[in-house]
């Protein structure tokens, strides 16, 4: 059975925490990293809540899985901060939520 939009976006939210952990050594950006996790996590959750149970578009699951793998592969903390701002937007696009 194809996955639902909300289940895929919950996977993306988990990736936010992974990236925040990688970004942790940059102490000067600690607040910014926490803010990004809060703001983007909220945005992903809002779309997930609005589309609970809706079947995800074709290829969205593979996209989210590959995004999660990419997030997990980031080892440089600066790059992790860059990815915190990019990964959630890509996840939203993958499930057809555009630039929300």
């Amino acid at each position: 059975m194809p996955p639902s939009v909300d289940s895929l976006l919950l996977r993306a939210i988990n990736s936010l925490d992974v990236l925040a952990g990688t970004a942790a050594p940059i102490e000067d950006e600690w607040q910014y990293v926490r803010d990004l996790v809060t703001v983007w996590g909220g945005a992903l959750r809002a779309v997930a809540d609005a589309r609970v149970g809706q079947v995800a578009p074709p290829a969205a699951e593979a996209a989210i899985d590959r995004l999660a793998a990419e997030a997990a592969s980031v080892v440089d903390p600066h790059r992790a901060i860059d990815w915190l701002s990019t990964m959630p937007a890509v996840a939203l696009l993958a499930v057809g939520a555009g630039s929300q």
Binding site: W40, P57, P58, A63, V74, S85, T86, A89, L93, A94
Partner: protein, 225 residues
């Protein structure tokens, strides 16, 4: 108020060489013609870890999936190729190229709204009795009575007190001289991220105009795609 070429110091020489690299112009032209999904792909791939194009195609089913047409796929493949070319150049070099690409993209988009002869790069703005700013603007539109100054950044982390103060000072000094200057911050990053970064800043931001990944086409005078 008047405009002046930036000093030809070491930074300017190094940066000019990067700006002149054909890869920068190729990326800027592709991104000027692109829509939001392709621009997001460029940001992701130039920020990313993997250089495997198929991995990026998997992450962007909107562009490469079963429902995308040949034209969309071709345009996206061109953006992906140029983005991976930048990403493959190593951390420091990719960082310099990314900044140069945002400046060049800004120039290409502005050319759709104002005469190319009015658009200049790396210029300082001088005001009567005011010490010259250290950093030149990436792009200026030098039209009497309707000047524009653009500070271009790859990501929201480029938003800081120094940048906000410089833009605010320029705008206020122009008003003091009875001139009109539109000061704009161009960030090749998501609007939500930029607002998050801006929210913690205490520097003045009244009248700040900000262009983000979703709204780049406003510089060309066209609607958001």
């Amino acid at each position: 108020m008047r405009f002046q070429n930036a000093a030809t110091d070491g930074r300017a020489i190094v940066y000019a060489a990067i700006q002149a690299d054909p890869l920068v112009e190729r990326a800027a032209r592709l991104l000027a013609d692109a829509g939001y999904p392709e621009r997001l792909l460029a940001r992701a791939a130039m920020n990313g870890q993997t250089l495997d194009p198929d991995a990026w195609r998997t992450m962007f089913p909107t562009l490469f999936g079963p429902d995308s047409d040949d034209e969309t796929r071709a345009r996206a493949n061109a953006v992906l190729a140029v983005s991976l070319d930048v990403a493959g150049r190593g951390e420091q070099v990719r960082s310099q190229f990314r900044g140069a690409i945002v400046g060049a993209l800004t120039e290409r988009l502005l050319e759709r709204r104002v005469p190319a002869t009015a658009i200049r790069r790396e210029r300082r703005i001088l005001f009567d009795g005011i010490a010259t700013e250290i950093h030149p603007y990436d792009v200026t539109v030098e039209v009497p009575g309707a000047a524009e100054a653009y500070d271009c950044k790859w990501g929201a982390r480029g938003i800081g007190a120094d940048v906000l103060n410089q833009l605010d000072d320029a705008r206020r000094h122009a008003v003091d001289e009875g001139e009109r200057l539109t000061a704009v911050l161009v960030i090749f990053d998501a609007g939500r991220t930029c607002q998050t970064r801006l929210a913690r800043q205490t520097a003045p931001r009244q009248g700040l105009r900000m262009v983000t990944l979703e709204t780049l086409d406003r510089m060309a005078g066209t609607a958001k795609r």
